[in-house]
C-alpha cells in the first residue's frame, strides 16, 4: 500500500500520510545537528529522554491533560504504543471491545492473541455507541480493555461528543476496565474549542497513546503513552524485549526541536493548511459527488468519510476507480473488524497529502465515476 500510494500517476486519497512538504525539515536538521554536536551520547543506547518526557507533559497540558514525567513512556510511534499496551493487557484468547470499523493497525496488533473482539457501532455525528458498550457489559463481557479513537476517528472522521466521553469513562470506572485512547490526530483539530482527550477526565482508567508522526514527522518514529506510574516498569521490560530502546538521537533531537520554541507556530500552520485542504475537498464533494452521497465536516484528523446508498460496493468502486480514473481511496470495508460487510457502502478519503489542485482533480474524477455508477 505504501508502495502503491507513491505511484505518481494515481491521485491517492488512500493513506493517512501527513504532507511531506509541511515537515519542518530544516528545523529538524538543525535540531539533529545541534544534538550530535553537543551530546556525546546522542548515538548511544540510552534511557528515555527526560527532556522529551517533560516536553510531552507540556504538550499534553495544551490539550487539557495533567500528567507527570513519571507517567510518560516514550515509544517508537503510536503503533508501538498500541502493540506494547496490548502485550501488557491482553492474554491469548482474551476479549477486547472496539468499534466495528476501526484503524486496521489496531486489528493487526490483536492478531497474534486470537482474542474475541466485541464490536459496537460508531455514530457519524457523536462517535462510539456507548449504550452498546453498556449493553455488552450488562451481558457479562469482561474485556481486557476498550479501544477507541475519540478525536479524529479513523476511519469515520468523527469526534466523540462530550456527553459520550463522560459516560464511557463512567463505564470504564464502574467495570474497572481500562480505555486505550488512541490519539494520533488529536492535535490536528480545526474547531474553536476541541474536546479534551478522555485522559483529561480520568488518570487511572485511560491509557493514552500519542505520536509525533502527524504533528512533526513519522520517520523519526517517536510517540508516547501516558499510563499510571505503576505500569511504567512493566512497559519498560516489554519495550526492551521488543527493540531495546527508543532511538536516542531521534528523542533528543525532538526535544531540541521543541526547545527551540517554534512548535506552536508549526502546529498552527499545520492546522491552517490541513483545514484548507479539508475545505477544498468538501467543496469538491459538494460540486461533483451525486446527491445520494453524504458526509460530515470533520473537526479533526485527516479524513472525510463518505457514505453512499445501501448496497453500494466501495470495494468494486475502488477497483474501477484505479483503472478508469486513476484515483485511490480506502473502501470502508477495509476497516471492518469482522469483515462482515460493515462500511461497504463508504469511502475514506484522506485530504492531508495532496495539494489543493490534486484534490480538485481527484474529487472531480471520483464524482465522474460515481455519476455513471450502475453497480456491477
Amino acid at each position: 500500500m505504501l508502495r502503491d500510494a507513491s505511484c505518481s500517476d494515481v491521485i491517492s486519497f488512500a493513506l493517512g500520510l501527513p504532507a511531506a512538504e509541511l515537515f519542518p525539515a530544516a528545523e529538524i536538521g538543525v535540531a539533529i545537528a545541534h544534538t550530535l554536536d553537543r551530546d556525546p551520547c546522542a548515538l548511544q543506547y540510552g534511557p528515555a529522554s527526560a527532556a522529551l518526557r517533560s516536553h510531552v507533559v507540556r504538550l499534553m497540558a495544551l490539550r487539557g491533560v495533567t500528567c507527570s514525567e513519571e507517567q510518560v513512556f516514550l515509544t517508537a510511534g503510536a503503533q508501538q504504543g498500541m502493540s506494547l499496551l496490548a502485550r501488557l493487557l491482553l492474554e491469548p484468547g482474551g476479549t477486547v471491545i472496539s468499534e466495528e470499523l476501526i484503524y486496521t493497525g489496531f486489528q493487526q496488533v490483536l492478531m497474534p492473541y486470537e482474542c474475541e473482539t466485541l464490536t459496537v457501532p460508531t455514530d457519524p455525528d457523536t462517535g462510539i455507541d456507548v449504550d452498546a458498550v453498556d449493553a455488552l457489559f450488562a451481558r457479562g463481557a469482561r474485556p481486557a480493555f476498550i479501544y477507541t479513537i475519540p478525536t479524529g476517528h479513523n476511519p469515520i472522521a468523527v469526534d466523540m461528543s462530550a456527553e459520550k466521553r463522560s459516560r464511557l469513562i463512567d463505564l470504564a470506572r464502574s467495570h474497572r476496565v481500562p480505555i486505550v485512547e488512541d490519539d494520533p490526530y488529536g492535535f490536528v483539530s480545526y474547531g474553536e474549542s476541541p474536546a479534551a482527550p478522555l485522559r483529561a477526565l480520568d488518570p487511572e482508567w485511560v491509557y493514552y497513546i500519542g505520536s509525533f508522526s502527524k504533528i512533526l514527522a513519522p520517520a523519526l518514529r517517536v510517540g508516547w503513552v501516558v499510563v499510571p506510574e505503576r505500569l511504567m516498569a512493566l512497559l519498560g521490560v516489554l519495550k526492551e524485549a521488543s527493540d531495546i530502546d527508543t532511538a536516542t538521537l531521534a528523542q533528543r533531537s525532538i526535544a531540541a526541536f521543541l526547545d527551540a520554541g517554534g512548535f506552536e507556530a508549526h502546529l498552527a500552520r499545520l492546522r491552517t493548511e490541513y483545514r484548507s485542504r479539508r475545505d477544498r475537498m468538501l467543496e469538491g464533494l459538494g460540486k461533483h459527488f451525486p446527491d445520494r452521497a453524504c458526509w460530515r465536516v470533520p473537526s479533526s484528523g485527516l479524513f472525510v468519510w463518505v457514505a453512499l446508498e445501501d448496497g453500494f460496493d466501495a470495494d468494486l468502486a475502488l477497483r474501477r476507480s484505479l483503472v478508469e480514473e486513476r484515483v485511490a481511496f480506502l473502501p470502508g470495508s477495509a476497516f471492518a473488524v469482522h469483515g462482515d460487510g460493515a462500511g461497504r457502502n463508504c469511502l475514506r478519503l484522506s485530504f492531508s497529502h495532496s495539494a489543493s489542485d490534486r484534490i480538485d482533480e481527484g474529487i472531480t474524477r471520483l464524482g465522474r465515476l460515481l455519476g455513471r455508477w450502475r453497480g456491477p
Copy 2:
C-alpha cells in the same frame, strides 16, 4: 541497568555498549544533513530503503555470505529482528533449543510464548555443544528453531569452531529446523581469518540477524535479517503491526553514510581500538587476577569471560564489588536460561566502552577484591 552504567564513579564492565567516542558522529551528521537536504520523503513513512538493502548485501559479502536484496529485511536493530523471527516461528507453548547461558534479550523475547527452552552447554573453546543438540533431536525434540550466537558469543566470548558450524548446519538440514543466527558482533573480529557466519554455509535453514548498533551507532536503531525470500512478506506484516516501518531517515542516512565510502576504514579503526582494549584487559587480568581465575583470548566481540573456582559466587562478588571497589560487571548467572546456578562462578567483563586507563584501574580493583575473597 542502562541508568546504573552511566553513574560515573563506577567503572563499568557490565554492558555491551559500543564506545561512544568511536562513533563517526560527524560523518553521520553529514549523512543525515545530506539526506534531509536531497530527499523530500526522508521524514515520511516509507518502504524499506532499497539503497540500504543493497549495502547490506555488500556487507554480507565481506563476511562470505551470498544473498540478494530480496532476502534482506530491515529492522529497528537486532533485538527487533529476534523478536519478529520469534513471532514468525514460535507458537505459544512451543519449543526452542538454545545454549544454557545466552544473551538475556533473547530470553526476554521468549517470555510471552511460555515455551519450553531446551538448553545445551557451550564449550569455552569451541562453542555450542553440537553433540548435545544432536542428542535432543534423538530424544524426539521438535523445536521451532535453534538459537545461537556463533561469533563473539554473548556471554561466553567464544567463536564456534568450523567443524561445529558445519555439523550444526547438517543437523538443521536433516531435521528441517531453522537456525536463528544472532550476529551483532560478527564484524568486530580480531583474528586474521574470522569464520564466516553460518548463513554462508546454508541459505535455506539459517536465518541471520545483523545490526548497525555495534559497527556504526545503536541510536540509529537499524539492523537487518537475512531470510529466505518467501518469508519477507510475512515479516512485513509482523513489522507493520509492531511499529509500522523502520525509521526512513535513519535507513536513508545510513545508506548515505555507506555511499560516502569510509565504512571499511571505520571498521578497521573499530577493530584496532577494541583489540587494544581487549589486550589491555587481558594484560590486567594476567597481572591482577588470582591464579584460580581462567579465561580465553576472545577473537571477536566485546567481552572476556572469566571463570573462578567451583562454588565461587559471582552474584555476591558483584554486590561486594559495587560497594567495596565501585566496579560493575555481569555475573554469569544473569545469562542462565533456567536460573539453575549455571555460570554462577563466572564474570562477563566488557572491554568496549572503557578507556584503557579505566580498564587498568577497574581490573586492578576487581583483582584486589578477588585477592581478599573468602566467600560469604
